[in-house]
Symmetry: none
Subunit: 461 residues, 2 copies
C-alpha cells in the first residue's frame, strides 16, 4: 500500500532520502567487509568472509545458506521476496591479491576515504556492489514495501581464482538459481563519466608456461653449452604473438567469431573516450596506433594473449652472473566466441610441439568460456530504464565487458539472460594497487538497484 | 750455493718436505684470512683485509705498500727478489657475497675441514691462491735460496665488484707492475682431476634491459589496446639470439675473431669430459646437441648472450590477471676478441632502434674486455713445465677460461703475457655456497708455484 502510494507520488524520493541519510552507516558496513582480507588465490580469509556475508544477507531478509560442493569454498545462496518474475543476483566475496603492496598509497585492507573516493582491495571488485545491493533491498522494504519480485542471490568465494567449483555447484543447486534474468557482479562509469551496462564477458584461459634447464643455477660462463630455460621461454613466447600484436597460435584466429553487421553498427555508435583512456593509463598511443571503430572492435570482439607475469634467474639489485635453472610465465588468453579454454589448451600444445618446444610445460590454472547475450534482453532493458532514472542520462550499452568471469558457468548453463551494472569507474584499478570507487557512485548504485527491482519486475518507475 | 747444490741433487725434494711439514701452519694462516669477511659488493672488511694481506706480504720478504687511486680501495703492490726476468703475480683479496646463507653446510666465514677439503668463502676465489703463493716464496727462500727472478705482486680488493678503479691504478703504477709475464689469480683441476692452465679470460658486458608500459599495472582485460612491456621485452629479446643459440645482434658476429688453424688443432686435442659436464649440470644434452670439437669451439671461442634474470608482472603463487607496467631483463654477454663492452653497447642500441625497440632502455652494469694470450708464451711454457714436475702429468692447456676478470685492465694494458694455474677443482663452487678446495690441491699449488719461480726464471728443474 505504502509502496503503491509512493509510486503514485512520483517514485523513489523517499527511497533516495532514506539512502542518503544512511551513507556513513552504509560505508562503515562496506569498510568492515574490506578490512577482512579474502584472497582466494592464497586461501586467506575465505571461511571468515563467508560467515560475514551470510550473516549480512540474512539481516537483509534473505533466506540464505552457505553450501559447498566437492570440497569447494562456501557459496552463499538465498531467496527473498515474491512475484511473477525471478531475478538472480551474482556477486563474489573474494578479492585479488594486493601485490605490489608498496604501490598502495594507503594499505589495501585499511579502507580509506580520500577525495570523495573509497580506496581498498575489493571496494570495486566486488564487495562494494555486493553490499550496495543488499542495502538497496533493505532500503526498498523500508521505504516502498515488499519486493515486487523474487530475488535470488549467488555469492561465490573463488571468482578471482577461476571459480573451479561453480559449474558443479550450479548443477547441484539449479533449483535454487533458476531465474528470468540475472544481474551480474559489476558495471562501470566510462572514462567520460557515463553509466554503462554490459551484456556479456570474455572467457579466459590462464596458463603457466614452465621450462627447466640444468639441475640448479650455474655460473653464466657455461651458458655457451648449458641450455638456458629463460631463452627457451622467450623463444616459445615469441611464437605466440607477433609485434603487431597478432596472436599467431596455429588455428587460433579461425575460432574467432566475427561481429555481425548489426553488432558493428552498435559498436560504431558506442561512445569510447580515447583521450581519457590514454590519460588514465599514462600512455601516448594505443596498441598498433589504433583508434575509432578498429580500436573498439579489437577491444570488444578480439581475444588476447597477455604475459601477466614472467620470472627467471636473478631479479634483485645489481648484477649476478647466473645461468638460471628454471623459467616460467603466466599467460592469460581472453576469449571470444567460439574460443574455449579447452580449445586454447589443445591449440597451444600442438603449436609449441610443432615448433620443437615440447620442453615447455603448460600448466593450466583456470578457464572460463565466453558468454555473450542480447543487448535487448529483459534484464538489459530493465537496467537501462533504471539507470536512466538514476543518472538522468541513457546508459552506454556495451556488448560485453572485456574482463572475464564465470558468467557462462551460471547463465549459459541455466539459460538466463544477463546484464551488469554497478558502482565502478574507469579508473577503479581493479586487480591493481589503489583500487577505488567514488562514494557518489556507490550511493547511485544503491539508488539504481532499488529502481531496477521495479523495472525488472515490470513495474513502471 | 745451497740452492745450486740442491738442484744438482735432484730439485725440490727439500722444498717439498719443508712444505709438507708445515701444512697445518699454512692452513691456519689461510683460515685466519678466510675468517675475515671481505665482501666488496657490500663494502665489508676491505680495509681490515688489506692490512692483513699487506702485513703477510711483508713477512714474506716483499717490499709492499697499499695504495689507492680516485678513492678506490687499498691495492697492494710490492716487489722482492732480483734476476733477469720479472714476474707479476695478480690476486684479489675480496670475495663474493655469501648468499644464499642457508645453503652452506658450515658457515661461510668459519673455514672448516671436511673430507680432505677446506670449505669457506674465498678459499678458492681467491684468498687460497694468494696465500699459497706467499708461502711458496718463503719456502723457496728457506730451502733453495734467494729468488732467481724479480717477483712483483698486485693484490686488489674489488675484483668481485668489477674492478672499477683498476685501470686507473695500473696507469698510475705502471712502473711498479711491468713484467715479462703474469701469473693470474687461479686455475682448476678439471672434472677428470687433470691440472689445467689457461691463457686468457672472456670479457663481459652486463646490461639491464628495461621497458615501461602504462603508468601502473592494469587489469589484463585492457591488454587488447594498452601496450604490454613484458611482450615488448620478449619481442626485443627474441631478436638478440635465435633458437639455434646464434647471437643475431646486427654486427655482433663480425666482431668475433675466429680461432686460427693452430688454435683449432690445440682445441681438437684438448680433453673435455662431456659425460662429467652433463652429469654435473643434470642435463641430457648440450646446447644444439653439440659435442666434440664443435662443443669446445663454442665454449672457448664464442661469445654468449645470456638471460641471467627476467621479471615482469605477477610472479607469486596462483594466478593474477594483471597487465604489467614494467619489465626488465639482466643480460650478460661474455666477450671474445674483438668484442668489447663499448662495441656491445653501441651494436645493441643500434640493433634495437633499427627494429623499432627504441622504447627498450639499456642500463649498463659493468664490463671487462676479453684477454687472450698465446698458449706458448713464457709464463705458459713455464707453468706447463712446473705443473708436469708437480703433478707427474702434462697439464691441460686451455686457450682461456670461459669466465671473466680484469685481465685486460692489467695484462693487455701493460703488454704482459699471462697464464693462470691454481688450487681449485671442478666442483670448487666459486660464487656459490660451500666454496671449497681440496687440501692436497692447496699443497700442490705451493709446490707448483715454487717450481714455477725457477721455470719462469729460465732455470732447469
Amino acid at each position: 500500500m505504502r509502496g503503491s502510494l509512493y509510486r503514485l507520488m512520483g517514485g523513489f524520493t523517499e527511497f533516495d532520502d532514506y539512502v542518503r541519510a544512511r551513507v556513513p552507516q552504509y560505508l562503515d558496513e562496506l569498510k568492515a567487509l574490506i578490512r577482512q582480507p579474502t584472497v582466494s588465490a592464497q586461501g586467506i580469509g575465505i571461511a571468515d568472509t563467508a560467515r560475514i556475508v551470510l550473516d549480512r544477507a540474512r539481516r537483509a531478509g534473505i533466506d540464505a545458506s552457505a553450501r559447498s560442493v566437492n570440497g569447494g569454498p562456501p557459496t552463499i545462496v538465498g531467496e527473498t521476496g515474491r512475484g511473477e518474475r525471478t531475478l538472480l543476483v551474482y556477486n563474489h566475496y573474494d578479492v585479488q591479491p594486493p601485490d605490489p603492496l608498496d604501490e598502495w598509497e594507503t594499505p589495501p585492507f585499511e579502507p580509506t576515504e580520500r577525495d570523495g573516493h573509497l580506496f581498498g582491495r575489493g571496494v570495486s571488485d566486488n564487495k562494494g556492489n555486493l553490499m550496495a545491493r543488499l542495502q538497496a533491498i533493505e532500503a526498498y522494504r523500508a521505504t516502498i514495501g515488499e519486493l515486487p519480485l523474487r530475488v535470488r542471490v549467488l555469492y561465490e568465494g573463488e571468482e578471482e581464482s577461476g571459480s573451479p567449483h561453480l559449474a558443479a555447484f550450479v548443477d547441484a543447486n539449479a533449483d535454487r538459481l533458476r531465474a528470468d534474468g540475472c544481474i551480474w557482479e559489476a558495471g562501470y562509469k566510462d572514462a567520460a563519466g557515463r553509466p554503462t551496462i554490459s551484456c556479456g564477458l570474455k572467457g579466459i584461459a590462464y596458463v603457466e608456461l614452465r621450462v627447466r634447464g640444468a639441475a640448479k643455477d650455474a655460473h653464466s660462463s657455461v651458458a655457451t653449452i648449458i641450455p638456458n630455460p629463460a631463452w627457451r621461454l622467450v623463444w616459445a613466447l615469441a611464437t605466440l604473438k607477433n609485434d603487431r600484436d597478432e596472436i599467431t597460435v596455429d588455428g587460433f584466429a579461425q575460432e574467432v567469431r566475427q561481429p555481425t553487421p548489426a553488432e558493428l553498427g552498435l559498436l560504431e555508435r558506442l561512445p569510447f573516450d580515447e583521450t581519457a583512456m590514454l590519460r588514465i593509463h599514462g600512455i601516448s598511443r594505443f596498441v598498433g596506433g589504433l583508434s575509432g571503430l578498429a580500436l573498439k572492435r579489437k577491444h570488444f570482439y578480439e581475444p588476447t594473449c597477455t604475459i601477466c607475469g614472467i620470472v627467471s634467474g636473478y631479479t634483485g639489485a645489481g648484477s649476478k652472473t647466473v645461468l638460471p635453472a628454471i623459467a616460467s610465465a603466466k599467460i592469460d588468453f581472453r576469449l571470444v566466441p567460439d574460443l574455449t579454454p579447452e580449445k586454447v589448451a589443445t591449440l597451444l600444445r600442438a603449436h609449441l610441439d610443432r615448433r620443437g618446444f615440447s620442453d615447455v610445460e603448460i600448466v593450466p590454472s583456470h578457464g572460463e568460456r565466453p558468454s555473450r547475450w542480447p543487448t535487448d534482453s529483459l534484464p538489459a532493458r530493465a537496467a537501462a530504464v533504471a539507470c536512466r532514472a538514476t543518472y538522468g542520462v541513457d546508459p552506454v550499452v556495451y556488448p560485453l565487458m572485456a574482463g572475464s568471469g564465470p558468467m557462462a558457468q551460471v547463465c549459459d548453463r541455466l539459460g538466463i539472460p544477463v546484464t551488469g551494472f554497478g558502482s565502478g569507474n574507469a579508473a577503479s584499478a581493479n586487480h591493481a594497487p589503489n583500487e577505488n570507487i567514488a562514494i557518489a557512485d556507490y550511493v547511485d548504485h544503491i539508488r539504481a538497484f532499488g529502481r531496477f527491482l521495479d523495472t525488472f519486475a515490470g513495474r513502471p518507475l
